[in-house]
């Protein structure tokens, strides 16, 4: 018997199975060494299903529940401890299976304590005091039989504690998994497949700034494997990489070629195909110079870990790609996937296995950088990138700077090895391999936003959005943004007004926003324009359109112009292109491509006239009201006048009806202001009021004065008259005179029939004293314009009084949530995040737009 404390190493993500007879102290041991939530006990589960922790007849159901809970925990990547006797091999087998199916290590801790100890402990427990001794004896017999075979059963670590003292003194020590290097934050240079191209490797390292295998700024190289085979100097490559790894300047994961070389070096029989023959020959030659080298290589390869999780979990590097559920996991199949990737089981016309496009389905948060499949050019697919650009086949050797996400490459010096088949033209999955999945959008969802945290989308709203998105929207790849709804100003008590600027200024003052900009509200329809420099940019950046080299209409769209629900603004694609063309010309003439450093830009705008898009609604609803009132009221009034002339007392009614006629006429005037005929683009006006995003940058937080200065330049450089400026006035909410000037400006503008204005914090993205996002804009609509919304007679005092009883809370909350989602979409778009991530946020805006709220707000 030993009295020194024993340490029991336990991998930090594993399934720990406690094994021991009843009364051996498993529960006590578990409680002492693990968190209560980490322990799942069979007794507890028996209690759950049968109200009695000792009801053995409930065991089957209890273990179902236990396995279910354990499965959920392991799927979520949580260390789990099973507290059951587990003395029978069948019960352990299920647990080992469970661990394997979640790719975690099963670990056994055995409490093999003497029978008398167990008996004494059970006797001390009232609920077990009556347990016959033979139960303990049977348990111990079964345990004894099992002990030697635990490793064979699949347990990767087996700790056996034989005495009370040993169990008492044991210390559980959590060990990090080999693949868990989250604490390393780089910066990294991830280097693609090398295949013995030593000279290209040296050039690439040089280009990356490495001097003799070390980076002066302390960067770390990460090799994705396939260092060897096919190329001219595999030993040279190995020497360089091994030196860098041992000096701590590099990390390396194995490729399938290292794996095979490793087995060859261990003396296993492998086919000398796929370039291994060349490596063997080169190693043989190396033996003469450095006999120890071969052994060092074997050791190096033996110590390689199949994948690494780096930089706080944001980066995963492996040779052949890895689905999210395998990240940081440890099992044979994880290693196999990391080394070989997944195949469909089919073979192509060259007899090579068809790779399963795992990246297509990838939806993980971590960026996966890998190699293995030679492609002519790298491209991001769902936050994954393949760096194998076929250097050995005469392509190039590529590295990815992380976190910069910059690509650095050097061309191959020559074709070192003829490929069995031409390099695929697309990355796995390729252009078509970025489809959106229904699971990305359907059902109740939570979208994480950086500005307001989690935003929930309800199932019924997602259903409505799915319908509209699927049936009417433009291609989601061109739909990087949908505009949020905007709340109106707090209701005014001013005589004759429902909305008035005073409240908007006051609200911002209360929010601590001193400077606001009042922007003229153009009464048209919202239009979002994505303008690419040309069709090639639309193709390369957004993946839409025909094949490269196609000309004319086959070259595809150069952007999109869509409404606030994502529909194409115009049915006529050619006319859309004309508008994009004019915008593009203005951006070019204003020199903004260069200034923004971009070849695409996303603009928020208002397209006029309103009648262009809302024609149907205008005719069926607004003009109809005008027509009906125009037909009915004069006749009614004439009849009232005739009755009055006869001496019948209809005075009050006649007065009201006259007022009614005036209101109706004012209503007709109100909508007419926003209607005019257009022919093609003649008469069409576009007023851009915000630059949303450009390559690599969301501009949503750029102050509005800067924004408007850009947009003024656009308008200035549009000779066609399509573009319109947005009139604006900056107001200091703390200065009475300035506020009065703002009110006067609004009165003047709406007095002339203007729709109203939007008041925005000049600094665009602003938080209040409590750190909450303030409304990005508040609309203050004109008195006459509101007739269209609240009805012709809303200005009558008795109507106004009732209408003032309106509720803004829901609309305001909706406006903020949609705003945050819109910002999120822009950030994701600008960051080059995968399509589904951008679409998730855009889709959520549409879904929230379908939340029923008073439509007059």
């Amino acid at each position: 018997m030993t009295s020194t404390a024993r340490t029991l190493p336990v991998t930090d993500l594993s399934l720990v199975v406690l094994i021991g007879a009843t009364g051996s102290g498993k529960s006590t041991f578990a409680r002492k060494h693990f968190k209560p939530t980490e322990i799942v006990s069979s007794d507890f589960c028996r209690g759950l299903v049968a109200d009695d922790e000792n009801d053995q007849s409930a065991s089957r159901d209890a273990f179902d529940v236990l396995h279910y809970i354990v499965g959920k925990r392991l799927a979520a990547g949580r260390l789990t401890v099973v507290d059951a006797t587990s003395v029978q091999s069948e019960s352990r087998k299920q647990l080992v299976q469970l661990a394997r199916s979640h790719d975690v290590l099963p670990i056994a801790i055995v409490l093999d304590l003497p029978e008398e100890v167990c008996v004494a402990r059970n006797a001390a427990r009232p609920d077990r005091a009556g347990m016959p001794r033979h139960v303990i004896q049977r348990h111990r017999r079964e345990l004894r039989r099992s002990l030697r075979g635990l490793e064979r059963e699949g347990f990767r670590k087996v700790h056996i504690l034989r005495t009370e003292e040993e169990a008492e003194l044991a210390e559980v020590v959590l060990e990090r998994r080999y693949n868990d290097l989250r604490h390393l934050t780089g910066p990294f240079d991830v280097i693609g497949d090398i295949h013995g191209c030593s000279s290209e490797l040296e050039s690439l390292l040089g280009k990356l700034g490495y001097v003799d295998g070390a980076h002066p700024e302390g960067r770390t190289a990460v090799f994705v494997g396939d260092l060897v085979d096919r190329g001219p100097d595999s030993p040279g490559v190995l020497r360089r990489v091994m030196a860098m790894v041992s000096a701590g300047n590099a990390l390396c994961v194995p490729g399938n070629h290292e794996n095979k070389l490793g087995r060859y070096l261990k003396g296993r029989k492998v086919q000398h195909t796929h370039g291994l023959a060349e490596t063997i020959e080169q190693l043989d030659r190396e033996d003469e110079k450095d006999p120890a080298f071969r052994g060092q290589v074997r050791e190096f390869i033996d110590g390689l870990v199949s994948h690494y999780v780096l930089d706080g979990g944001k980066l995963v590097v492996c040779h052949a790609g890895l689905p999210e559920k395998y990240h940081g996991r440890t099992s044979g199949r994880v290693r196999s996937h990391a080394l070989y990737g997944d195949t469909t089981g089919e073979t192509d016309e060259f007899g090579l296995p068809v790779r399963y496009p795992w990246a297509e389905e990838y939806r993980g948060r971590a960026t996966v950088v890998y190699g293995h499949t030679p492609v002519p050019n790298t491209s991001w697919v769902n936050n994954t990138i393949c760096l194998d650009t076929g250097a050995v086949f005469g392509g190039k050797m590529t590295a990815l700077r992380w976190p910069e996400r910059e690509l650095v490459d050097v061309p191959a010096e020559r074709v070192w090895y003829e490929p069995a088949k031409p390099l695929a033209t697309e990355a796995p999955g390729g252009r078509e391999g970025r489809p959106l999945d229904l699971a990305d959008v359907q059902g109740r969802r939570i979208v994480e936003t950086r500005h307001v945290g989690r935003v929930a989308v309800r199932e019924e709203n997602a259903a409505a959005a799915l319908e509209v998105m699927s049936r009417f929207a433009v291609d989601p790849r061109l739909l990087g943004y949908l505009p949020p709804t905007m709340a109106p100003t707090a209701t005014s008590r001013e005589d004759g007004y429902l909305e008035h600027p005073a409240e908007a200024f006051a609200q911002y003052r209360a929010d601590g926003v001193a400077e606001v900009v009042c922007e003229e509200k153009h009464m048209g329809s919202r239009a979002v324009a994505l303008v690419c420099r040309d069709a090639a940019v639309a193709r390369e950046r957004f993946g839409v359109g025909g094949s490269p080299g196609a000309s004319g209409s086959a070259s595809g769209p150069t952007g999109a112009l869509h409404t606030r629900t994502g529909r194409p603004f115009l049915d006529d694609a050619a006319l859309t292109e004309v508008i994009l063309d004019r915008l593009r010309a203005a951006v070019t003439a204003a020199g903004l491509w260069e200034e923004w450093g971009t070849d695409w830009v996303l603009l928020d705008a208002e397209l006029m006239p309103w009648s262009l898009k809302a024609g149907g609604l205008l005719r069926s609803q607004y003009a109809a009201v005008g027509a009906a009132s125009g037909a009915a009221l004069p006749e009614a009034n004439a009849a009232l006048a005739a009755a009055a002339a006869r001496g019948v007392d209809v005075g009050a009614l006649a007065d009201r009806q006259r007022g009614r006629a005036e209101d109706a006429a004012a209503f007709t005037e109100a909508y007419r202001r926003y209607c005019w005929s257009t022919q093609g683009l003649d008469g069409v006006r576009l007023a851009p009021f915000q630059v949303l995003a450009v390559q690599g940058r969301s501009l949503a937080a750029v102050p509005h004065d800067e924004q408007l200065a850009w947009l003024d330049r656009l308008v200035e450089h549009d000779p066609t008259g399509l573009l319109r400026t947005t009139r604006r006035l900056v107001v200091d909410t703390g200065d009475e005179a300035s506020v009065r000037a703002g009110v006067d400006w609004w009165l003047e503008m709406t007095g002339r029939g203007g729709e109203g204005m939007v008041v925005k914090p000049l600094a665009a993205l602003v938080r209040d004293g409590k750190g909450r996002l303030v409304q990005p804009g508040i609309k203050v609509r004109g008195r006459e314009y509101l007739r269209i919304i609240y009805g012709p007679e809303y200005t009558r005092p008795e109507n106004l009084e009732r209408l003032r009883d309106r509720f803004l809370g829901h609309k305001r909350s909706l406006a903020l949530r949609e705003y945050a989602l819109g910002l999120e979409a822009l950030d994701r778009l600008a960051d080059g995040e995968p399509l589904w991530r951008v679409h998730e946020a855009v889709f959520a805006v549409l879904a929230l737009e379908s939340e029923p709220v008073d439509p007059r707000l």
Binding site: L276, P435, A464, R471, A628
Partner: protein, 507 residues
């Protein structure tokens, strides 16, 4: 809203008897409060020769809206903007009909104690309705009032807005009726026909609507040539109510935020066509052709992608060979109708287990659609904008990959054979395109080639020697090699383990 009733007379039968018949004195204006406003009756003229009664209904639009005020959801009484700005204060809609029954109750029943004989006899009448909403236009107004004994039925369309002549006419007409009729008959006609012409969404529907119609239609409705239309429209208001209840508020909101009518986006299905009672012959032929092709392919687990109202699902349920039928549609309304048609809650457990209906979209990949024997896309592709078609192709042929795929779509060449279809028009308002046979085949062959399918074509309906069949169907079959290599069911997880050396080293 406003209408006038005039009559002429002489010393014997003074026109002012109208006041007795209406129970409203010509010199005293009458007002009564109704739940949605105030009804006024006054007489612009009242002499022995000529007497005119005017009914003016002062609708309180704000009150009308606030009646239904609900708490949550921002206190919005109604999610649809149309409820707030509308023609009800002005046009002679069904509300006026309700007001008539309240104000002229006795006159409607032909009861007049003071002048019983005049109530029973025809008199010269002139009725003017300056703004009568008339779905069906002036022509329908003439058809409805023409057979009812009027000597003059004048219905003139009111222009929508004289400043925008290109907008055309409004749905209102100015109606003038002249003739010798019993007042009660004239009022009853108006009482029934105003809401029939209005045909809008039912502002008021009482449970005893059928009785009311029978009473008010006594003596004129039974023999009316348009009796069917009148009855169905009058009573349709009731069905409309249930339809509105079904309408998704969420879609209404999305339509409005884009300045659209909800009808223009919630139009995936038309529940009045291809019903069990009135099946469309071509649709039946299509279903027969699809079922034949499915049986020929030996399919038992079948996806109906774009199942619409579920007619095909229903047909498949009748054949036990189809053991699992999944109807997918993007339209919630379509699924609701399909579910109403299939009544899964009333099926036996085993039957119900064969069928699933769920929302899905073919512009997204969907893991739940993998591993089926066959998928049917019947009259689906043409509802997608052409640029979105590749997404559908990928979702079906690239991702779901059923062994057999059936695609039917209209053959646009055949459209010249539809007598009712104006030249150059598509068959359905939501068709984004219609293909010729050559176009369809070119598309199908390309898709087949790209995704490893073979494809054949089957005509559906009479195969016209010149323009082909009305519907064209493509039958895609996964090529044999692919099919054999494709893992079926749940064995994919195992495939990593038994990888061969050759596979592993082929990189």
């Amino acid at each position: 809203m406003f209408l006038t009733i005039s009559t002429t007379g002489d010393e014997q039968n003074p026109a002012t008897d109208l006041g007795f018949l209406l129970h409203k004195h010509p010199d005293n204006p009458f007002s009564t409060k109704l739940s949605y406003g105030t009804a006024h009756v006054f007489y612009p003229e009242a002499s022995a020769e000529r007497c005119t009664a005017a009914l003016l209904l002062e609708v309180d639009p704000v009150a009308l809206v606030r009646r239904g005020k609900g708490k949550g959801r921002g206190g919005a009484p109604d999610a649809a903007l149309a409820q707030y700005v509308n023609d009800r204060p002005y046009a002679a809609s069904s509300l006026l009909s309700v007001a008539m029954s309240a104000v002229f109750k006795s006159a409607l029943n032909g009861v007049c104690r003071a002048r019983p004989e005049r109530a029973q006899t025809a008199m010269p009448l002139r009725i003017e309705v300056p703004a009568l909403p008339a779905r069906g236009g002036a022509e329908l107004v003439r058809k409805l009032f023409g057979p009812l004994g009027w000597t003059r039925v004048d219905a003139v369309a009111v222009p929508l807005d004289e400043q925008f002549p290109e907008w055309g006419d409004s749905r209102y007409v100015r109606l003038v009726l002249e003739g010798e009729l019993r007042l009660a008959d004239a009022l009853r006609q108006l009482y029934v026909l105003l809401p029939v012409l209005d045909d809008a969404k039912h502002y008021w529907v009482a449970p005893d609507e059928v009785d009311k119609l029978l009473r008010a239609g006594e003596g004129w409705l039974a023999a009316h040539p348009e009796q069917k239309l009148i009855t169905s429209r009058y009573l349709a208001r009731r069905r409309g109510l249930t339809l509105q209840a079904m309408q998704q508020l969420e879609l209404v909101r999305l339509a409005e935020s884009d300045d659209l009518d909800v009808e223009s986006i919630d139009n995936a299905v038309d529940e009045t066509t291809d019903t069990e009672e009135k099946p469309v012959p071509l649709a039946e032929q299509r279903r027969a052709a699809i079922l034949d092709a499915l049986r020929a392919a030996g399919a038992s687990r079948v996806l109906d992608l774009g199942c619409g109202q579920g007619q095909l699902v229903q047909a498949m349920l009748k054949d036990a060979a189809f053991t699992e039928i999944v109807g997918v549609d993007v339209s919630v309304r379509a699924l609701t109708i399909a579910s109403r048609r299939l009544k899964p809650e009333r099926m036996g457990e085993r039957q119900a287990a064969r069928v699933t209906l769920r929302q899905g979209s073919l512009t997204y990949t969907d893991k739940r659609l993998k591993g089926y024997d066959a998928a049917v896309l019947s009259e689906v592709v043409e509802h997608l904008d052409l640029p979105r078609l590749p997404a559908l192709e990928y979702a079906v042929f690239g991702s779901a990959r059923p062994r057999t795929v059936l695609v039917t779509t209209p053959n646009v060449e055949y459209n010249v054979r539809w007598e009712t279809l104006p030249a150059g028009h598509v068959r359905h308002g939501d068709h984004r395109f219609e293909w010729t046979r050559a176009e369809f085949r070119a598309w199908a062959r390309e898709v087949a080639q790209r995704h490893g399918y073979g494809v054949g074509f089957v005509p559906v309906g009479p195969d016209d020697p010149e323009v082909g069949p009305p519907t064209q169907m493509a039958v895609f079959t996964m090529t044999a090699a692919d099919d054999a290599a494709k893992p079926r069911g749940g064995e994919t997880a195992e495939r990593n383990g038994d990888r061969t050396e050759k596979e592993a080293n082929a990189a």
